[in-house]
Amino acid sequence: MTATELPPKLAEIRDDFLELEESDRLLLLLEFADELPTLPPRYADHPDLLERVVECQSPVFMFVEVDDDSAVHLYATAPRESPTTRGFASILSQGLDGLSRQEVLDVPDDYPNTIGLTKAVSPLRIRGMTAMLARTKRRLREGAA
């Protein structure tokens, strides 16, 4: 798959980041962090349903769901003190929302490295987002979602 075949929302997010100066990209990531929606009540009331992504540096819990129309939804929560993780989760949650299972599986594994954040955030930290994407795909492959 080439970059131009990215799902439109993921491509739009990437372009939004790349259009900005390096220093402003963190502010866009902050916007994403601020926008991370609260969990739907069915998960907020049942934190046991959420899965911890242990590869991430700060605690992040997520749940992958496929609805009756075969559309994927990703829900995640992370503490206010971990805004980078919240931002990553928010990008994936918005970028993958409504895609089909196959479309999500086809998203390049290195998407997190292509959105212009490796320098601003550091490659080590970007790994947290890569782990979240990998975890999402694994859940879909396992058919658990």
């Binding site: 963190l26 902050l30 962090a33 590869e55 605690p59 805004p83 980078t84 550091s122």
Partner: protein, 300 residues
């Protein structure tokens, strides 16, 4: 011209009281000419969510680490970073951060590699400031760039490399990682990613003193008598000892380095920042597993 010291009574019991300021002191001194407040966190975005008014940000990863070699930035890069933050050689710098100042202490240690004279920590760090509702802002500080001179980094006094550790056997080593990392049960911090150490355990003869024991629940440093009990009575350190502290990549041991050097007054304490990510992957170095320190090998 250094900004005046914080006379808080708790600090006077420490070896170098001038290395700490209280949240009260900082609030009163915000905006004082010659003072720059620096936030340094584990999370690269935490500063942007709100910071102490006027504070600038220095990130351990993107500002203080060399992007290519596994090392700290060189003289020119350090001068450029500090100058851009409005810090001159004679600026009084107060650093604060998340997680009981763990990363703030790391930044302070790097400042010390370059011999920056007046650099202090905010006792209790970001957590205490927030808990006391002293106010954060998202407003970008107005920075007047400064000229920071190109200073040669001087590693030897406070930084240990692998060869230094091998030559140090017979002298005290402090392992500041979690108990599970010390025993070899795991090679990374609980709840943190595996960062690729091939072997688990600790450097033979190292005493286990997890770094966070030096911090009180409110993120401030423990009092002098409490620290003496931990490091002198329990870990067996005494005056005149030459000490090397280490952890996983040298961040947590910077916190312990600060405690031993500035709060307890040990001289010549070194931080082995290669730490377990180097030692646990190195060929032909001794390792001890389990809860006992083990015997020091012959120095080499």
């Amino acid at each position: 011209m250094p900004v005046d010291l914080d006379p808080t009574p708790k600090f006077t019991a420490y070896a170098h009281p001038g290395r700490l300021v209280s949240t009260e002191w900082l609030q009163e001194h915000l905006g004082t000419p010659g003072l720059v407040v620096v936030e340094s966190d584990e999370d690269v975005l935490l500063y942007e969510t709100g910071h102490i008014p006027g504070a600038v940000k220095i990130d351990w990863h993107t500002d203080l680490n060399d992007p290519v070699e596994r090392d700290f930035v060189g003289s020119a890069a350090f001068a450029a970073v500090l100058g851009a933050k409005g810090i001159s050689r004679d600026t009084t710098v107060v650093i604060y951060g998340d997680k009981s100042n763990w990363w703030a202490a790391y930044a302070l240690w790097v400042f010390t590699l370059f011999g920056h004279d007046d650099v202090r920590l905010l006792d209790g760090g970001r957590d205490k400031w927030v808990a006391e509702e002293r106010g954060l802002t998202r407003d970008k500080p107005v920075i007047t760039p400064a000229e920071y001179p190109i200073i040669e980094r001087n590693d030897a006094p406070i930084r240990a490399f692998r060869e230094d550790v091998l030559a140090h056997f017979g002298n005290p080593l402090i392992d500041v990682r979690s108990t599970e990392e010390y025993t070899g049960e795991r090679t990374h911090m609980p709840a943190y990613p595996e960062e690729g150490a091939l072997r688990g355990g600790h450097i033979p003869s190292a005493a286990s003193v997890p770094w966070a024991r030096a911090a009180a629940p409110d993120a401030t440093f423990r009092t002098r008598p409490e620290l003496d009990a931990i490091y002198r009575d329990e870990a067996g350190l005494s005056d005149g000892d030459s000490v090397i502290a280490y952890c996983r990549i040298g961040e947590r041991s910077s916190h312990t380095w600060f405690v031993l050097t500035h709060l307890l007054g040990f001289e010549g304490v070194r931080n082995y920042d290669g730490s377990w990510t180097e030692w646990g992957n190195a060929v032909h170095v001794p390792i001890t597993m389990g809860t006992e320190p083990g015997t020091a090998p012959q120095p080499r």
